[in-house]
Each structure stands twice: as structure tokens, then as C-alpha cells.
């Protein structure tokens, strides 16, 4: 006898997905993100030039207007070129790659780390909880940019170091939320029932409490991705993030900043639009996620 679940017999995530898709705005955001992600993955195939390969750049083609054909390579610079002769379209697509990598990567690692610490603090209670939460308070009280600058000044530039920095700064948000939610859940009768049935603490944490803590963590995760991307762009803009030869969107904007007033707007403008679109899309998805998950918390 095969059993096929009805709609409300699916797990809560199925129902969350169904509710999520009711909002056209959220679907639009999700579509944009899917497009961005696809573009980032398919970068080598959809771009005429690898902007990180200095051999492919032609300095003579610097600062050309959008739509100008290239002098040597035989393709058109649809979005123009920047100060080093990079095709802006290619640079944006590759830059999105970095943005997504840094954003999603740091959010994911920070989520795992932070949630683990938060759950541990909630279940252990007492001094362990107090110590961990003081650490969290400390981290959250520093201005983020300042901390990021200090850490990057110490570890140096590079995508990996940027991810490390962001993880160090972001895990605290997850920890605090996970701990708060876990504290509520730990008091619930079903946790007591699990304890009374001799289920070991680690299993209660991972199998019983964690699934109930996920909704707010998911919302934070979605919005933190946007934050991380913005942060990376800011750091790169300031010249502290990615190396000059592998520009991310932030660095591109920075490079073009000096030319804004001399009518060569496109060097900053198009990367800016790309960045903005991505972040807005993530925020739309995150907002809808928060609305959809909220009443669920009350069952």
C-alpha cells in the first residue's frame, strides 16, 4: 500500500514554498536571483572576454562608450569598457560571481557556526550560555566596517580572506537568534517528553529543537546574504577586499568613480545597477520569506 501525501501532509517546508509563491513580487525577485545565479555559473560561456586575464585586455580600448566594437578581438563592448580596457559586461558577470560566492558562502558558513553555538548556549545554560552571549554582545557592539577593516588589514586581501572576515562578523547574529528561539523551544513540553523518554541531548538539539528554530534563521540568512554582498562591495570599493586584477562589482564601481563627472558614467553605473538589482531581489525574497514564516511560528 503506497502512501502519497496530501497537501497538508507534506512537511512544513512544502507549505511554506506554496505560500511563498503566492506573491508575485517574491516570484519576480526569485526569478531575478535565478537569472543572476545562472549567469554567474555560466560566466565563461556567456562572456566574450575573461576580465581577469590581463592578456585579453587591450589598454587602447579603455573607456570606450557602450556599443563600441572592439578594435582587435572582434566583438562589441555592449556596456563599454573601464579604465583598464575590460569589457564591462564580462566584468559584471564575473563580478556577480564573486559577489554571490562571497555572499552565500559567508552566510552559509556563518549560519552553521552561529546556529551551532547558539543551540549549545541555550541547551547548556548557566555559565556557558553567559560566556558565549557576552562574546556575541561584544562582537555585535563593534561597528562592522571598522572591524572588517582591522581584520583585513591583518590578514590581507583576497576573496578567501573576505569570506573569513564576513564569517567572523556574521555568526553572532545567527547565534543570538538561534539561542533565543532554542530557549523558547527548550521549555516546551515536547522537549521534556523527549528527555523523559531517554533521548540523548545532542539528538534532542539536532532532531527536535533545531527544526523548530529554522524559520527565523532562514529569514536572517536570506537578508544576511544581501548584507554580505553589500559589505564585500563596500570593502572592495575602499580597496581592501579583492585584488585589483580580479575586480568585483565594488571594485568596478570604485574604478569608475573618478570618471562619473566627466560623462563616462557607464564604468560605475552598470556595475551599480547590477549590484542594486541583486540586492533588491534578495531583499524581496527575504521579506516574503519573513512574512510567510511568521505566522507559522504560531502554528
Amino acid at each position: 500500500m503506497s502512501w502519497r501525501p496530501r497537501f497538508d501532509e507534506h512537511s512544513i517546508w512544502w507549505r511554506v514554498a506554496a505560500d511563498f509563491l503566492r506573491s508575485r513580487v517574491a516570484i519576480a525577485g526569485l526569478a531575478v536571483l535565478a537569472l543572476v545565479a545562472l549567469a554567474a555559473i555560466a560566466a565563461p560561456w556567456i562572456t566574450p572576454q575573461n576580465p581577469y586575464d590581463l592578456m585579453q585586455l587591450d589598454v587602447l580600448d579603455a573607456r570606450l562608450k557602450p556599443g563600441t566594437p572592439s578594435s582587435a578581438a572582434g566583438y562589441t563592448y555592449w556596456l563599454g569598457t573601464d579604465g583598464q580596457g575590460r569589457d564591462l559586461y564580462s566584468a559584471i558577470v564575473y563580478g556577480l560571481r564573486i559577489s554571490l560566492l562571497v555572499g552565500v558562502g559567508s552566510a552559509a558558513i556563518a549560519a552553521v557556526l552561529g546556529t551551532g553555538i547558539g543551540l549549545l548556549a541555550a541547551y547548556a545554560g548557566g555559565k556557558v550560555d553567559a560566556a558565549l552571549m557576552r562574546l556575541v554582545d561584544l562582537l555585535l557592539s563593534f561597528p562592522t566596517i571598522l572591524m572588517a577593516l582591522m581584520i583585513l588589514a591583518y590578514v590581507g586581501k583576497g576573496v578567501g580572506n573576505v569570506v573569513l572576515t564576513l564569517v567572523l562578523l556574521e555568526w553572532a547574529y545567527y547565534a543570538r537568534t538561534a539561542r533565543g528561539q532554542a530557549l523558547v523551544e527548550t521549555r516546551r513540553d515536547y522537549v521534556e517528553a523527549a528527555r523523559g523518554q531517554g533521548i540523548p541531548p545532542w539528538r534532542i538539539l539536532s532532531g527536535h529543537i533545531l527544526p523548530n528554530c529554522l524559520p527565523p534563521l532562514l529569514v536572517i540568512g536570506a537578508l544576511q546574504i544581501a548584507r554580505a554582498i553589500t559589505l564585500e562591495a563596500t570593502l572592495s570599493f575602499l580597496g581592501l577586499g579583492v585584488p585589483i586584477t580580479e575586480p568585483s562589482l565594488g571594485l568596478l564601481i570604485s574604478n569608475g568613480y573618478q570618471y562619473l563627472l566627466s560623462n563616462e558614467y557607464w564604468i560605475s553605473f552598470f556595475p551599480g545597477v547590477a549590484l542594486l538589482t541583486t540586492i533588491v531581489a534578495i531583499n524581496l525574497v527575504g521579506d516574503q520569506l519573513r512574512d510567510v514564516l511568521n505566522p507559522r511560528l504560531q502554528r
Binding site: 502512501w3 501525501p5 497538508d8 501532509e9 512537511s11 512544513i12 516546551r188 513540553d189 515536547y190 521534556e192 517528553a193 523527549a194 528527555r195 523523559g196 523518554q197 531517554g198 533521548i199 539528538r203 532532531g207 527536535h208 527544526p211 523548530n212 502554528r299
Partner: protein
Amino acid sequence: MSLTTLPLVDLQGVSKRFGAQPPLGVFGQALRRLGWNTPPVVTHAVDGVDLAVRPGEVVGLVGESGCGKSTLGRIATGLLTPTEGSVQVDGQPLHGLNGDARLAARLRVQMVFQDPFASLNPRLRVSRIVGEAARLHGLTDAAGEDDYVSAQLQRVGLDPALRHRYPHQFSGGQRQRIGIARALAVQPKMLVCDEAVAALDVSIQAQILNLFMDLRDELGLAYLFISHDLGVIRHLCDRVAVMYLGRVVESAPVDELFARPNHPYTRALLAEIPRIDQRRTAFNTIRGEIPSPITPPSGCHFHPRCPQAMPRCRSEVPTLRGIAIHHASACHLNDAA
């Protein structure tokens, strides 16, 4: 059952206090010297209770808010450790055991909770809720788990075909049955029911009470039935203990308690329950509020509200003494006789 049988669960001199502060360190003592003296806020939930439940016996625990009956129930299941006193399960002290023996003792006494909505994990399917512990502790293996879970559900009157559903798809009464199935799945010898029917409609309540009685007959289960509803207690229990603010004030076989209540609190409680055959009555009331368990009154806890309080009641704690066969009461008025 004879009263010389070894009790299944035996609580002796059990007290539980919440919030007691550890001794002050150097810093704390310095603060105290500066005049900042914050006394610890200690809740005296349970105060020197003796309670025994024999195999197959149904013991009722009655009282109002702050009387400590829920705390006592949790101490009996091992979910809480008493501040003082001993808990023995099948003759073995519960908190001295380790490892497998401790686990076995814990599984022997299982709890059924009050709130059918909060006592089941909303993210887990019923099959997992009921079967997880049994599987973990080797009561069933991976192959037999599905049948085992189905058998438990059938025993509590639920259709096993529903075992893949989530708790939110069931009604309150059905969820309570799931909670009972979960408790039964680890093959306990005693169930502690903490207001297990209070949140249910009257007609569903009758179904669940009948279920309890069937399980008692089929499986020989003992019960510690905690409730504020004297009508339910009267129907279900063999023996009753009445608690007020952490202490047992009276205990007797159920017919004896209802026929000849001794303690003034018990009598007031019985007089105040609305009954369906009392029409347009003037409600009898005891004056005053239930005191807080943080600052319980001195001497007999009930003396501020007792219509028959004497000066002795304020200074001296009455002991629980036998006043008739198997009938004990903690009241100074009994001494006067």
C-alpha cells in the same frame, strides 16, 4: 492489591526549591557590605512530601495553582531532581543510578502532558514521535518499527493509517491519544498524567478517561493522576492526596475523602466545586487569595484563609497524621479531640 506490596514509585521527604542562590563570592559579599542586599527569590514548590504509588494503583493528586502537584509529578518521572529527599523506583534510588539502570528506571515512569498542542513536536511526523524512543532503546528494530508504532496507535484507539501525518492535522483529543501512545511505546509501568484531560472538551474527556481505565485493566498500569477536577478524580482514582502550597494536607481512599473530608481546605474545596445539581446557588467561598509559593505563610500554610484557625496554626507546622484507617490529615484541629 495489598498494601504490603513494594511501591513502584516511592517519594520520601521530597522537597523542591527553585531559585536558591549559590553562596556569594567575594564580590557579592562586598556588595552586601555596601548595603546592597538582594535576598534570593526562592520558590518553595514542594515541601517535605511523602507519596507512594503501588503497582496497578491509581493515585490522585489534587490542588490549585502553586500547590506543587505538577512539580511533584515531574519529580516522580525523574524530569526534575528534588532539592531534598529520595525518589525510589522499584526499590532503587532513582538518582543514584547510572547508565542503563538509570535509563530503565526513567522509562518505567512516563508522563502524559496537559497541553495536547505543545506536547507534540509540530515538525515531526507521528510515526517518529511515537517510535523514536522505542527504536533508540532497542524495544524494536528498524524492520519492526512501523508495525510497532501501528500497534501502539491502535491500542490508543487511533487509525494506524494516520501515522505519517503531522500533529497539526489532528484534533485535541487525538493528539492526547498520540501523547499516550508515545508514553506507552517505551513500555512503562506507570503513567503520570499531569492534567491530561483539562484542555479537552467534556465529551472527548470522557473518551480519554475511558481509555485510561482500559489501559489500566489491560496492562496493569499504575497512575499518578494530577488534576484540579475533583469530579474526574473521584471517578478514576483509588486514593487521593490533597496538596496546598507544596504540602500534602490530606490523603485518603477516594470514597473516604469525599464522605468524610477532614482538613478545612479539603472541605472548602469540596464545597466550592460547582455541581450540576446545584441550581442558582449562592456560591460558598473561602476568603483571600492563594498565597505565593515564594513567601508562604508561616506555620500551617492555610491559616490565613482558614475559618477555624487558632493561634497555634500560625507558629507550628501541622504534621500529616493518621486520623482513621488509611486516612491522614495535617491539621491541629485533630489534636484538640
